[in-house]
Symmetry: C2
DNA sequence: TCATCACCATGGACTCCATCGACCTTCGGC
DNA sequence: GCCGAAGGTCGATGGAGTCCATGGTGATGA
């Protein structure tokens, strides 16, 4: 994990479809060398995968919301987690410090669908209550942190 | 935008480095046809880009937090936004409905750095107060929603 | 200080892919 | 029924991906 690895990571976070030859030119190595380095970063889990970023509105998922979950005292946390994991609308899920055990990022097409999702989460065993905040607009998302990160 | 486009999007969200030939095999078209479809999806903005996903802990950014910003009454929203945009630690930024105008996802290396970041945000003109919640663990992030999205 | 070992980059070779042009099919409108 | 547009397949070619053998370099230990 040296500075060349970091540059490769930066380049791949900027454009994951760059060819190895292009990466090699940019970092000043040969293509096989880059190939091996990237392979090792993948094997080590430093690079987890490659994702296309989409325009959610264009795909009919124009409503983004953040939902905090407060658990029942004595609830089995794994049950809540399993139930939430089964909901495809939940894009991200963090286990939090504080009153709200989980913080979710969800994406749905309409406010009506959001309502149904909230109802479903509230009905989940172990969930005491939820708090929902709706994103009116997304300024930016998943912006890579250059240099290190 | 037909079902083949949606499948291509799903495949690219799963692995953005798939070759056109591989995508072609999976959707039952020729490679040039897939090439043209993907190019159109990119040109239309439906596909915004391709990003490598990294293990943030491995890169020394093990602390994730969510920060809500309450603005001063009468503050210029653009000033706050510009200031926050200049902070590389801020990975995502949503403009929200509710008391907290902005919701940020931030990533730093240590709690000390988080403290400094919060101080910096609080000192930003237009910011009345902030509310920070720390993620103890990330259950999942940026999970693609299959089928549509 | 020198020998040894392990690791990594290089360069070549071979296979496969990206991509362009030409032609074909299908569908809508006239 | 004909024509044009859109979008598909096919074929060719230039370049990329990837494997392998070789050589150089830095660290370790005697």
């Amino acid at each position: 994990m040296d500075s060349i690895d970091l540059r490769l990571i930066d380049l791949l976070r900027d454009n994951a479809r760059s060819s190895y030859a292009e990466l090699a030119r940019k970092v000043g190595l040969s293509a096989p060398a880059v190939h091996e380095r990237v392979g090792k970063l993948e094997a080590a889990g430093t690079i987890r995968g490659y994702r296309a970023e989409v325009d959610h509105e264009a795909l009919g998922l124009g409503v983004t919301a953040l939902i905090g979950i407060i658990e029942d005292s004595g609830a089995d946390t794994d049950d809540v987690l399993t139930a939430v994991r089964a909901m495809p609308e939940v894009e991200s899920c963090y286990f939090m410090a504080g009153v709200e055990s989980y913080q979710l990022t969800v994406r749905v097409g309409t406010i009506a669908e959001l309502e149904q999702l909230i109802v479903r989460i509230n009905r989940t065993p172990g969930v005491a209550s939820t708090r929902t905040a709706i994103a009116l607009s997304t300024k930016w998302e998943n912006r890579p942190q250059p240099g290190v990160g």
